[in-house]
Every structure is written in C-alpha cells, then in structure tokens.
Amino acid sequence: EAGVTQFPSHSVIEKGQTVTLRCDPISGHDNLYWYRRVMGKEIKFLLHFVKESKQDESGMPNNRFLAERTGGTYSTLKVQPAELEDSGVYFCASSQDRGQETQYFGPGTRLLVL
C-alpha cells in the first residue's frame, strides 16, 4: 500500500513569490491534515479536511495560506505571497476515518523563503 506522498520534496523561493505544495493521501483515507514545523519548534497543526470539506482550519497562520482538496482526493497548500517566516517543513498526514485515530505522515516539503 502506497503511503502519503508530497511534492515537491524541497522548494526554495524568494520573498513575495507564490508556492504550491501538493499532498496525495493514502488511498481511501477521507481525512487529510496539514502540519508545519518551523526551525526549532514543534510540529504544529494547520488544518483538517474531511473529504473535500474543511473541518478545522484553526491552525492556519493568516490569509496568505490557502488549502484546497477538490474532489476529496489530493490536496494543495498555496502560500501567496511567501514571507521569510513561512520557511519550514510542511507535513501532510491522512487517516481513514475519525474513528481510526492514527494519522500517517508523508515525508514533508522543505520550504525555504529567501
């Protein structure tokens, strides 16, 4: 069974540019989560999709971040315009349903904003 995949693995952009991260969850998993780890800090929750609906976006830092999950399959996280403090590792995770609480993580996208 394929795990959670993320693309790209690394991205280096300049301040003010736009970056789009993609996450493909484990097949059949309705729940998709985005998390972020900035330098020296713990991994923190950004938002949660159930199928194509945003269930909880309380962790989104500001309106420069836009997440979508059209069709309830893969998800994208767009940062526009990127700022220096957006640098970090963005992780995606998925779980089969809310009753199954184990979240399986992807390898992450390492974003560096210069």
Partner: protein, 108 residues
Amino acid sequence: EDQVTQSPEALRLQEGESSSLNCSYTVSGLRGLFWYRQDPGKGPEFLFTLYSAGEEKEKERLKATLTKKESFLHITAPKPEDSATYLCAVRRNTPLVFGKGTRLSVIA
C-alpha cells in the same frame, strides 16, 4: 491549552545501554497519546497509540507506558539503527499536539 513536553532534548547511549524517554502532557479529555519516530529528512513514522493510564505497548526493543500525566518510551538494549528523533503527541480533538521530540543517538 494542551501542552506536551519531552525530555531530555537529546540522549546519547552506548549500544546495549537501556534508557527511557519522557513525555509529560497537559490535556483535558485525552483521546490518545501517540509516539512517532522520525529519521532525518523523513516524515514521522507511527509507533504506538496509548489511550488510558496503565496501558502498555511493545514493539521490538521499544515499550511505551502511560500514566495520567506522562508517558515513557523505554528502549531496551538499543542498537545504532534506533538512532532517530522520537516524537510524542496528544489528541483531544482531531489535531495532534506535538512535543519538540527527543533526539536519540546510539553509538556502536
């Protein structure tokens, strides 16, 4: 506010030298405490879920235990391949709340 504190931040062990990692938590209505392993450049890899005080789970050289205030990850006779960062997370609602992790190095 839910909080997770892991100690020590880093631990260096000789191969075969058993030890324990600590995860202290503050959360009302715990719905699971999770241990993950993370290797450099990779995402967290699921190890265990514990739900209630007194529960224990084992996998190879690892054993996780849970009390009402903390969890321990015991490593028995570690090998160099056990070197990684071990993350603890708690769940009250859907999002996981993570600690900063313990970076374990096992020297041959």
